[in-house]
């Protein structure tokens, strides 16, 4: 017990040391069973996909459940006009390449091209594309992000998994506590800035739902991703039906016919709930009063883009197809990969799109994502500037909720439902923490 106390004392002195101190012992292989759709989430855009990816591609920082930002790969320093980000010297890609400011800038420039969450997180930065371009060509040690308007939540927003720095164009190489050893294995990285993870490595097995459940029950796997739910985790994977200005009448046909609760119950399942407002209940999103309009009828055809590898989205897309058929509209479904969906939608393809985004656990940051999905950069800048000017976090959150309620009928974004992390843990697994996004952090996990 004395030794334990000593370790606790050391933990107060150094967070890294504290983490290490919590471990009973190093070693062992963490066994994860994942469902095929989790495996297919290459960019870690769902909570369970983000958990899996975070093993080898850590975000820049951890946003703790209480809202505190814990730097991991870089430190942040507020400057007169923004934030200065200095990557840690020990933050290195598995190839040995250090994570410099230029690498970080390049990684974020690529993230802006594929992720609305990344665009929303960096939306308050003035001329972000130019800044990233400039830094990516320089050999500086820090990345200066000048803000277009006050934005107190910037550091917290930068902890989003979508901004986890990656070395190449693909989802391959990140800076994580583990280095990928093939597609299904990872080995602990001793020099990881937060210190070596507790398990020596991990093994991922892609299994069917039943097989994964059996593996967990038989303790052949300690973590199951894709099935079950963590009721304690906030549900932040929000799904919206996004339309274009010209196709908003289609949304007007859908909304009166839409029973979000039934939608969640019958077609989404898992740790999901209806989301009548632009912000999820976990962020105090307010219910928008029902319009009470009677279902109208339309005609013609429309094209709906949705993400192919997400069974829930597919089922919801099919339900929307049925609802619009009842309204007289023939809806064609166009499945896309997440990056293709983002690219095609921004290129003007499709009349409607189902967009699922992992929202930051901050109301203002979440609204920034919603406004990014709405596709109105000028309006978004105005809204965020107003909200960013409120310095007090609680007041800012309250103002954000009110504003979200006011915007609900005006932006071409129809909230549908929100999902939490689908996963189950072996009850014997110890020290699995949960961050502000509701994502498990498995670095310190151990088991007797």
């Amino acid at each position: 017990m004395n030794a334990r106390r000593l370790l606790v004392l050391l933990a107060v002195v150094s967070p890294a040391a504290a983490t290490a101190a919590a471990r009973a012992r190093d070693g062992g292989t963490l066994r994860l069973a994942v469902l095929p759709e989790v495996r297919a989430d290459r960019w870690g855009e769902t909570p369970e996909g983000a958990v899996l990816r975070s093993l080898v591609a850590s975000p820049l920082c951890h946003l703790e459940a209480g809202g505190r930002v814990q730097p991991v790969l870089a430190s942040f320093q507020r400057t007169a006009d923004g934030v200065s980000i200095v990557p840690r010297a020990s933050a290195r890609f598995p190839s040995g390449t250090p994570l410099g400011a230029a690498e970080l800038a390049r990684a974020w420039a690529r993230a802006l091209e594929r992720s609305p969450a990344a665009r929303a997180a960096l939306a308050p930065v003035r001329d972000v594309a130019a800044v990233l371009e400039q830094v990516s060509r320089a050999k500086g040690t820090s990345l200066q992000l000048p803000l277009a308007h006050p934005w107190p939540d910037l550091e917290a927003s930068l902890c989003h998994p979508a901004l986890a720095p990656l070395a190449g164009d693909g989802p391959g190489e990140g800076v994580g506590a583990y280095a990928a050893d093939g597609a299904e294995r990872g080995r602990a990285v001793p020099g990881f800035p937060e210190g070596r993870p507790h398990p020596d490595g991990f093994v991922v097995s892609a299994l069917s739902r039943r097989a994964a459940q059996r593996a967990l029950e038989a303790r052949a796997a300690q973590v199951l991703l894709g099935d079950g739910g963590d009721p304690a985790a906030p549900a932040l994977l929000a799904t919206y039906l996004v339309s274009r200005p010209a196709t908003r009448p289609l949304v007007a046909l859908v909304e009166p016919r839409l029973d979000r609760a039934a939608l969640v119950r019958s077609f989404v399942g898992g740790p999901a709930s209806a989301m009548p407002g632009l912000l999820p209940p976990a962020l105090g999103g307010l219910d928008r009063a029902a319009t009470g309009s009677s279902p109208g009828r339309g005609s013609g055809t429309a094209l709906l883009l949705y993400t192919a590898d997400r069974p829930g989205q597919r089922a919801v897309a099919q339900r929307l197809q049925i609802l619009l058929r009842d309204a007289g509209v023939q809806l064609t479904l166009a499945p896309r990969s997440p990056e293709a969906l983002d690219r095609d939608w921004r290129a003007g393809q499709g009349d409607l799109a189902l967009r699922s985004v992992l929202l930051p656990p901050l109301p203002a940051g979440a609204l920034a994502v919603v406004l990014e999905l709405a596709g109105d950069p000028a309006g978004s800048r105005r809204e965020l500037a107003t909200l960013g000017a409120v310095a007090e976090p609680a007041e800012r959150a309250a103002r954000t909720r009110e504003r979200a309620l006011q915007l609900a009928g005006t932006v071409p974004v129809l909230p549908l439902y929100v999902e939490g992390l689908r996963g189950r843990l072996d009850p014997a697994l110890v020290d699995v923490r949960r961050d502000g996004f509701g994502l498990w952090m498995l670095d310190d996990a151990w088991w007797p």
């Binding site: 019958s266 055809t301 099919q318 197809q321 049925i322 058929r325 023939q330 064609t332 479904l333």
Partner: protein, 545 residues
């Protein structure tokens, strides 16, 4: 039309006649036979389709009953009964491995609670399926089928069964969508084009039916199944048969024509030879003979013709000899007459003079003086007669040269003039280019005009005119005399025939010979006023330029 052509046509008609009778009849029989075949195939296809539907009904009935008793179904139904909403696609596990494409678990109010194939309808009363009641035999109803392109209504054969474990809280409805794949399979099974359509239903079609179609329709609830058997294969077979029939007919016709041609040639060759022979005989070749050919009546005809031409030749030669003899007799008679007439007074004058000289008649001198001129006159008459016969005999061949008959006649008449008491009237026609001997033609015109004048001793009018008649140039001399006696007619053109007491009868005969020497004729006619009309016809030269 030639006999050979007529015979060929006759043979062709004879060959066509049976074809014309048999081909339509055979064609009709073929049409009827193949139409029956087509109808039989359509009926067979309809029977096969009905049997396939019966089999499908049985399959659906059994499969849905088995699904209703499936533990998984019971588990889902019990979950429903206990108020826990099952997964929208929970029935998918029940449908796995079963020949079903529709499987929905609905609650007591008819709302779909779980669907293997249309989970997107969960929470709604599925149109179409709600009409199917447990215990009813499988029926065809419209069901929604979902794909990426949208939702379509398709006919489906479905049955409903209660899930016993749920105590009436759940009913299972399942069946098979009669989709493109089923229609395609049915098309392959029946060999027909299969179309499945109905109001509001997405149409499905498979198979081909080319050509004229024979259709059979099977009502299937809201849809209609149409099986069309194409006549393409039957049409092709029928066309092949008809082609063979027509080819055989055409070959028969060709053979008949060839045989007919050969046969007709065998028949018509002697007939044509006979025709040619007749033409030759008509042209004056009386020694024409037709080669002995053919047989039977034709041979008899050829022999008769040859005998006839031989006889005709003999007769003609005899007639010519007789005519020559008659002509010579006429000439001799005329010559004798012409010679005898002066000889008799000459003889009498000489005998009178001799008697007076012998009797020393003192009137001798006076008689001599009186008789000598008369005797000289008779001698002169004898000389003229002999000259006339000499001219007739010595008429040379005509020296033809181009001249205008009208212009020439006008010029000749101006020189000639008429004797007192006779007026000469000239009626010129158009320019008539001919080839003629000017001297002989002048002799002819002179003879004709003098003949006309002599026919009118008490005076009258001689009209000379020229005109064109077809390819002939005509010169007419018409008088107002008594005309030529009908009994003489054209005989006046023969030597020695005359109506005048002092004529030699050679003038017109000479004219006829001149006309003949110009390739023409001299014709005798009666003028409208009753006088004589002599008409010269000679070939007209084509106009210059």
């Amino acid at each position: 039309m030639r006999l050979r052509t007529l015979l060929l046509l006759a043979f062709a008609l004879l060959a066509l006649l049976p074809l014309a009778v048999t081909v339509p009849f055979a064609k009709r029989r073929i049409e009827v036979t193949f139409s029956r075949e087509l109808a039989a195939r359509a009926d067979s296809a309809a029977r096969l389709a009905s049997a396939e539907l019966d089999r499908l009904r049985s399959d659906v009935d059994q499969s849905v009953s088995a699904c209703a008793a499936d533990p998984l179904t019971e588990s889902v139904a019990l979950q429903l009964e206990s108020g826990i909403p099952p997964a929208a696609d929970a029935m998918r596990g029940v449908a796995e491995g079963r020949p079903l494409t529709v499987l929905t678990l609905r609650d007591a109010s008819g709302v779909s609670r779980s669907s293997a194939f249309l989970p997107a309808r969960v929470g709604d009363v599925e149109p179409g399926l709600s009409a199917v009641r447990p215990g009813d035999p499988p029926a065809v109803v419209p069901v929604e089928v979902q794909n990426a392109d949208g939702v379509q209504l398709r006919p489906a054969l479905v049955a409903a069964r209660p899930v016993e474990a749920a105590h009436g809280a759940a009913t299972l409805v399942g069946g098979q969508v009669l989709d493109d794949a089923w229609v395609s399979r049915l098309a392959g099974l029946t060999g027909a084009r299969v179309e499945l359509q109905g109001p509001g239903l997405a149409p499905a079609a498979a198979g081909t039916a080319e050509g004229r179609n024979v259709r059979r329709a099977l009502p299937l609830g809201p849809a209609e199944l149409t099986l069309s058997v194409g006549s393409a294969v039957v049409d092709e077979t029928r066309a092949t048969l008809l082609r063979a029939l027509l080819t055989a007919g055409a070959l028969g016709l060709l053979l008949a024509l060839v045989a007919g041609f050969l046969f007709a040639r065998g028949i018509t060759r002697p007939v044509e030879a006979l025709t040619e022979g007749v033409r030759s005989v008509a042209g004056g070749a009386l020694d024409t003979r037709v080669p002995a050919a053919g047989s039977g009546e034709v041979r008899v005809l050829v022999d008769a013709f040859n005998r006839m031409t031989e006889d005709l030749g003999h007769a003609t030669r005899a007639l010519r000899t007789a005519e020559q003899a008659a002509a010579w007799e006429g000439v001799a008679r005329s010559l004798a007459h012409e010679l005898r007439n002066p000889l008799t007074p000459l003889q009498m004058s000489l005998e009178t003079l001799l008697a007076a000289r012998k009797a020393r008649d003192p009137r001798f001198e006076a008689l001599f003086v009186e008789s000598a001129p008369a005797m000289l006159e008779e001698v002169e008459r004898l000389r003229r007669t002999i000259d006339a016969f000499a001219r007739f005999a010595r008429l040379p061949a005509a020296q033809l040269e181009p001249l205008d008959l009208t212009a020439w006649a006008e010029q000749s008449l101006g020189v000639a003039g008429a004797r007192p008491g006779v007026s000469l009237r000239w009626e010129p026609g158009p320019s008539l280019p001919v080839r003629a001997d000017r001297d002989q033609l002048a002799q002819l015109l002179h003879n004709l005009v003098r003949n006309a004048e002599e026919a009118m001793p008490s005076g009258g009018q001689v009209t000379v005119r020229t005109k064109a008649q077809g390819d002939r140039a005509v010169l007419e001399v018409e008088d107002t005399g008594p005309g030529i006696p009908a009994e003489l007619g054209s005989r006046v053109l023969e030597p020695g025939v005359t109506t005048k007491s002092g004529g030699t009868g050679l003038g017109l005969a000479l004219g006829a010979r001149i006309a003949q020497g110009h390739g023409g004729t001299l014709e005798v006619d009666t003028a409208p006023g009753g006088g004589a009309l002599l008409r010269l016809r000679i070939p007209r030269e084509p106009a210059a330029g």
